[in-house]
């Protein structure tokens, strides 16, 4: 029987260029190598948001991923799945104001609870435009907020929700939504109730802030940030309440095991790492080519019969 199978495997039907011999081999035990993405590079495996080309305040449709990589379809992150589907409020991360002259004034229309993030979202209107920003602790409908990119010699006296460059603010100000590189859009400190504090000026036109994790970052003084502490302060001290509620939030059941070494049950008390100076990295534009190889490297008996 075995010999007969091997003889069959040798047989090939040729139709144009395509040999059909491969089909006769064992498909069941064939392994296809699939490359999975590295986690922790700022890519979310919870949902994809379907962004339109132009900015809009219309809540956007999402596709929930359940921890899967959308390209390969393989599970990448465990513990995500299910939950209530929320529409996504597209936040305008870039607060751009005039670089000289009086600041741009905007009015808060409404504070909205967003299902896709922990902090609340504020709907803001100015001229004939609407946009969402992250709401601060005491922000309410009707508030006027200012935005300016000008760095004066004497620090400004800011109100909550105003956006200024880091260099324009006095030492000790609480800020959030801080840009990492000038013009990038605020990408540090988004979680409910968090804030960073401006600690001191640093040489080379940099400003040092302490992050919520007590780490110190030195950022360029032209990086924009929003003043104040983020809304929904009680979020971190509010228990989820029940396992079912956690499922509604889109998290799958945990094992419940005490995992000492993983770092998820608290960090070791160590000296904080040294000051990290953020500098724009040079972009590596060199192209990476992927070489393919269709045939097996070694001719073994097995491959001889199959190919």
């Amino acid at each position: 029987m075995n010999c007969l199978t091997k003889e069959f495997a040798k047989l090939t039907f040729r139709c144009g260029q395509y040999p059909f011999s491969k089909i006769l081999g064992g498909v069941r035990y064939k392994i296809r190598y699939v490359e999975k993405p590295q986690i922790g590079n700022g890519k979310s495996f919870r949902r994809i948001v379907h962004y339109p080309t132009d900015y809009t305040v219309k809540p956007l449709n999402v596709t929930n991923l359940g921890g899967r990589d959308p390209k390969s379809g393989r599970l990448v992150v465990k513990g995500i799945g299910g939950g209530i589907k929320h529409k996504y409020h597209w936040i305008d991360w870039k607060r751009v104001g005039p670089s000289e002259g009086p600041p741009q004034v905007e009015r808060v229309i409404k504070i909205i609870k967003d299902g896709c993030r922990t902090a609340f979202v504020a709907l803001v209107a100015y001229e004939d435009k609407l946009k969402y920003i992250l709401a601060t602790e005491n922000m309410k409908a009707g508030d006027l907020i200012r935005t300016s990119c000008y760095i004066p010699r004497i620090p400004v006296r800011p109100n909550e929700g105003d956006a200024y460059p880091l260099g324009a603010l006095p030492v000790g100000t609480q800020v959030h939504c801080v840009e990492m590189y000038p013009g990038m859009g605020g990408n540090l400190i988004h979680a409910a109730g968090t804030y960073a504090t401006i600690v001191r000026k640093a040489p080379d036109n940099h400003v040092v802030i302490t992050m919520p994790s007590k780490r110190e970052f030195s950022l360029p003084a032209t990086c924009m940030c929003t003043v104040g502490r983020l809304s929904n302060v009680e979020h971190s001290s509010t228990p989820i309440g029940s396992a079912q509620k956690n499922r509604e939030l889109g998290n799958r059941p945990r094992s419940g095991l005490w995992q000492r070494k993983k770092g998820i049950h608290g960090r070791k008390l160590r000296k904080p790492p040294p000051l990290r100076t953020i500098k724009a990295l040079e972009k590596d534009n060199t192209e990476t080519i992927v070489l393919t190889c269709d045939r097996p490297f070694v001719k073994t008996l097995y491959t001889q019969f199959r190919y």
């Binding site: 409404k110 060199t286 992927v290 490297f297 073994t300």
Partner: protein, 406 residues
């Protein structure tokens, strides 16, 4: 036989495959060849471009069973480079009544309706008749259609069973036609002869305001027309009254911006028709259709603003038909009444159009309105019995007064 020798044998092919996965990805080294060639002004091509086989594709016209939809881009027949700001039936203004007043150059002289609207008391028999009309349209009608999904914000995971019943559009049509029939039967015959009610009339009024091209294109779900125009409410001067201010917001916020449009000037009844003068416009409010662009709940002031803009569009399109296209200060003011309802709440407003000069003219238009009035508290089946709780007489009194206003 010992298997371990065989099992521990290393498979060099697998090692190669594993190694290939890592080493098969290579970054192209910058050799400087491209730069050197460019310095000598020799053209540089990508290898793929040379190797790629050039194929000419022929376009074939496929005849389908219907024409393909025209793409919504610059080649569309209705494309204009100047964008149009439009307001339609399912839009609301961000700032509601305040914004609508600025857009239409309107002021409010006082709260509530003018004294001319006098409310009549109904007898018990008439009230019972009204109650039966409400029950008939809200509970007893035989329509059974799928109603919108219900969501409880406290329990977002809970899926309610889909309910079937009377749709809002039908409910509104029934209750308005029922109540208007009752009001007609209570009014004098000479008055009723002068009025006619038409459904689903389209009004459109385009205009320029501060270099923005704006068009209000709205439907009157039921419009009472009369053989004589409504007399002006007041001749009080409005020159000194300032418009409200919503800086830093522009009054054109949340109007739809479109490049594909048609400019239409529509007043649906020709002037040679005997009963062509607008009297009262009924507006249907369905919260499933009328929505904010940011999908949050609609506020009361946005409902008021919707009433004002509809009344303005009706009166302005009528005034253009009456007094010509270039008229600014009207020789005689045009007055239109509006009633907005979702079947449960009712909002009454009266609009007096004095001028069509909306760019900061001294004379202003005038708006009177009531707060939202609920027709009842609850009207549904309770433990198998049809009930109407908390019936409010005021609503039908207003309807009667509006119909009898001359």
């Amino acid at each position: 036989m010992k298997k371990s020798v065989v099992l521990f044998r290393q498979h060099i092919g697998w090692h190669f495959t594993k190694h290939w996965r890592v080493q098969g990805k290579r970054k192209l080294l910058e050799t400087g060849a491209e730069k050197a060639l460019k310095e000598k002004q020799l053209p540089v091509y990508q290898a793929e471009d040379i190797l790629k086989e050039e194929r000419q594709y022929e376009r074939i016209q496929v005849i389908g069973y219907k024409d393909k939809p025209v793409p919504l881009d610059e080649n569309h027949p209705n494309w204009h480079n100047r964008p149009l700001l439009s307001y339609r039936d399912n839009n609301v203004l961000l700032e509601g009544l305040t914004q609508a007043k600025i857009l239409t150059n309107t002021v409010q002289l006082k709260d509530g309706l003018p004294e001319r609207i006098s409310l009549k008391n109904f007898t018990d028999g008439e009230n019972n008749h009204i109650k039966s009309i409400i029950l008939q349209s809200h509970v007893f009608d035989a329509e059974q259609k799928k109603l919108p999904k219900i969501k409880d914000p406290e329990r977002p995971a809970w899926n309610f069973p889909r309910s079937y019943g009377i749709t809002q559009k039908r409910r509104n049509q029934l209750v308005i036609s029922g109540l208007m029939q009752l009001v007609e039967s209570l009014s004098t015959q000479d008055l009723v002869k002068d009025r006619v009610i038409l459904n689903d009339l389209i009004f459109s009024y385009p205009f320029l305001k501060y270099d923005d091209l704006i068009q209000f294109q709205l439907t009157g779900d039921a419009v009472v027309l009369s053989s004589k125009p409504l007399s002006p409410i007041t001749i009080e001067p409005t020159e000194g009254i300032a418009l409200e201010d919503i800086t830093p917001i522009k009054p054109t916020i949340t109007l739809n911006i479109d490049n594909i449009y048609e400019i239409k000037e529509i007043y649906p009844i020709k002037s040679y028709v005997k009963k062509s003068h607008p009297h009262t416009v009924f507006i249907n409010f369905d919260k499933e259709e009328v929505q904010n662009i940011y999908e949050e709940e609609i506020t009361h002031t946005q409902i008021f603003g919707r009433s004002l803009l509809k009344a303005f569009t009706v009166s302005a399109s009528y005034a253009r038909q009456m007094y010509g296209k270039d008229v600014k200060l009207l020789p005689k003011p045009v007055t239109v009444q509006s009633v907005q309802t979702d079947g449960h709440f009712y909002h009454f407003g009266i609009f007096q159009l004095n001028t069509l000069d909306l760019e900061g003219g001294e004379t202003k238009n005038i708006w009177y309105q009531t707060p939202l009035l609920n027709l009842f508290h609850n009207c549904s089946y309770k433990v198998g019995k049809p009930v109407l709780e908390g019936y409010n007489e005021e609503v039908v009194k207003h309807l009667y007064a509006f119909y009898n206003n001359n």
